[in-house]
Amino acid sequence: RMVTFATAATEAEETDTTAAEATPATPQTETVAANTSGFGLGRPALAEEIAAWDLDVSPDGTGLPEGRGDVFTGEEVFAENCAICHGDFAEGVDNWPVLAGGFDTLADKDPVKTVGSYWPYLSTVWDYVNRSMPFGAAQTLEPDDVYAIVAYILYSNDLVDDDFELSHENFAEFEMPNAGGFVVDDRPETEYVNWRSEPCMTDCKQSVEITMRATVLDVTPDEEGSGEASSMSHDSGTQMAAATPAATEVPAAEEPTAEEPAEDAPAVQVAAAAAIDRELVKSGEKVFKKCKACHQIGEGAQNKTGPQLNDVFGRTIGGIDGFKYSKGFKAAADEGRVWDEAAMYEFLSKPKSFIKGTKMSFSGLKKDSDLEAITAFLKANGG
């Protein structure tokens, strides 16, 4: 594939050709018509552009960049970027996916499908982490970080020892436990042959009885769509298939990289609460997009991965009963510290230095304008 790219790029640079001027395609098989004309639309893709977007990795390792990462490093990177949703040991938090364990459960009633128990190719893990994670900050990880995270996920599945290092060199050697667990769609042989016959119209059964009723479970959202019906979770022990078709991805760190020195330091402005600037609130709503994978605010807000934010100003830091705070937050609560604007500014600009050991894997808002906006937004929405 690399050769193809290089050739294409060279052609593009040398001749500045358009597709129409390129050699017309000729039919390869009966089913493919010739590109006899070509419309001459579009322009050649440049090598740098292809390199920026063509990141997918195939099972044989094609597409992997050079790099390496060990389990030890991976544990740190994982804790920083992934643990907020997947748990410190890849065990999954709330409804976020479990990444480890579940071996020998695939034939059980409710199989636990994890990277270790289910995923057939290591390339898929690397590719997915590299392109789609962390949730809310995709494509911000360096290759070495991705190698390290993948090494740690293998370790958390007991598939490698703690001194394991994953690299582009040993990648192809690794075979996943469930690699042989898949068959290509066999419905034509196992289903279609039996179900393509004239169906019965009369006397098809002797009798019919109702064996199960949806209203017994009562998990249907009400007509307002507020979904208040049930708190039934996927892993509750009912006999129902609370399937997770939309099994979710991972929210995790925003901008997991640089902790910037806050030198242009918090010009903490005490906003005149009476006149909350609408524009500011509006831009604060955009800033809040970084937060809302984990935090809710407003009517009906609940604790999710992070605590709900209603009446946060004036609340004791770490003060919501029943939320699992980090040690740092518990200590702050014990000291009776309270969220005011100054504290919020400081926290949101550098979370990890304000509360040591906070589980909030967010590196902080760097712009004063964003800090002002988020404060205005929180206040305008009942924070």
Binding site: R1, A8, A12, T17, A19, Q28, V32, G38, L41, G42, R43, A45, I50, W53, D56, V57, S58, P59, D94, A107, Y118, W119, P120, T124, Y128, S132, F135, G136, A138, Q139, F182, V183, V184, D185, R187, E191, W195, R196, S197, P199, M201, K205, I210, R213, A214, V219, T220, G225, G227, Q239, A241, A242, A243, P245, A246, A247, T248, P251, K292, A293
Partner: protein, 393 residues
């Protein structure tokens, strides 16, 4: 009999005036239809950013789904991507890797086709038993629109496929511009057959939640492959085996092995009215039983309806002859005398495939499949006109 004041008395609307033009430059449904909306099942997922909601199929008729109530499925939220900022790249085993702007796409010859788009997980919560009480929730991960766009084949040929050599074993990897970078591998045969790079639906631009400005349409195949915000098409000599085609959208059978590449959505149908969210409120007498049928293998040729839980069947009337890989509306115009009904529908497509019962599916697949549940659905219609989602022997 008392005269009806709605007829005998002068009504405001017959005397005064209504809204002028431009009252709503882009119209919305009248307030009395405000219950016809997409709905989410909150306990299904951890967050709405990566979740799904459901089309209110119980409240619609005909076959075309209005965009505003067509179900949404996002893996990392619906992004805002301007046409001016849109780029589509074709690379890999092509003669000339190309980049198209949105304007370029509108200069290729284009086609219009009506297709259904069904999430592979539609009805997935019903594998182990009747669970959600409403057609919207059991069958609402589907919509049906008229798409305008350029055949994927046209774009691939523009880039040239000589380099790919023998196309028999080749694949096309398609990927979106959003943070989930949802990517799927499609065999070349399908890519050159009927896939469409679409930019309009039901005559207007795609909605943000459906991939504005450009999405892929993969007729008859599971919705996850209809990549939204389509940004890259790569010709490859094998499948990527991405997360969405290994960890997800694979079907685990009772013995623990899993089927992969189960792309086609088999024939399926559901009665949309009466149904739990659409009870009979008019009393006994004439009633229209109405529903939807579809098949990823082609046209629906027949739909049968049973009122006794599958003991006897009668053939329903099709609203019009079925379009290939599109929703077909069926009706059974009949009488209801207040008796209990166990309502079922059974679709048959042009390949002769007959929609199976839940028992037939379980016998082959067990109960852990999640995806591709196309079983016959049962509604229990009671004397009061209400209906409930049930499972029958």
């Amino acid at each position: 009999n008392t005269p009806d004041p709605l007829i005998t008395e002068l009504q405001d609307w017959a005397s005064g005036t209504g809204d002028g033009v431009d009252a709503t430059p882009y119209g919305l449904p009248i307030e009395y239809e405000s219950d016809v909306i997409r709905r989410n099942v909150e306990w299904l997922t951890a967050d709405t950013i990566s979740s799904i909601n459901f089309t209110p199929i119980h409240a619609l008729d005909g076959t075309i789904t209005p965009q505003g109530c067509a179900f949404e499925r996002h893996h990392s939220g619906a992004i805002e991507l301007r046409k001016d900022d849109y780029r589509l790249m074709i690379n890999g085993l092509v003669d000339q890797p190309l980049v198209f702007s949105y304007a370029d796409l509108e200069r290729f010859p284009r086609e219009n086709h009506v297709y259904f788009c069904e999430c592979a997980a539609n009805t997935g919560m019903e594998w182990a038993g009747a669970q959600l009480n409403g057609a919207q929730f059991t069958h609402g991960m589907i919509h049906n629109m008229e798409y305008s766009g350029v055949p994927l084949r046209t774009l691939l040929e523009e880039a040239g496929l000589d380099t790919a050599g023998d196309l028999a074993g080749k694949w096309v990897y398609v990927e979106g511009a959003d943070a989930s970078s949802n990517g799927r591998s499609i065999p070349m045969e399908k890519a050159l057959d009927d896939c469409l790079v679409a930019f309009k639906a039901n005559g207007e631009a795609l909605r943000k939640e459906h991939g504005y400005p450009v999405r892929l349409v993969v007729p008859g195949w599971e919705g996850n492959m209809w990549v939204k915000w389509l940004r890259r098409i790569e010709v490859m000599d094998g499948p990527v085996e991405s997360r969405e085609e290994t960890s997800k959208y694979t079907d685990t059978l009772a013995d623990g092995t899993s089927r992969k590449w189960t792309w086609v959505m088999d024939a399926k149908s559901v009665i949309t009215s009466p149904s739990p969210q659409s009870p009979i409120t008019h009393g006994t007498g004439p009633v229209v039983i109405s529903g939807l049928a579809w098949s990823g293998h082609g046209k629906i040729t027949r739909v049968d309806v049973s009122r006794d839980g599958g003991m006897t069947w009668e053939t329903a009337r099709l609203g019009k002859q079925g379009d290939s890989k599109a929703l077909t509306r069926f009706y059974l115009d009949t009488e209801w005398n207040g008796e209990d009904w166990l309502l079922q529908s059974r679709a048959i497509d042009e390949t002769g495939y007959v929609q199976p019962t839940k028992a037939q599916l379980r016998e082959v697949r067990g109960e852990n499949s999640i995806y591709h549940n196309n079983c016959i659905q049962t509604w229990h219609l009671k004397a009061n006109g209400e209906a409930e989602n049930v499972e029958v022997s």
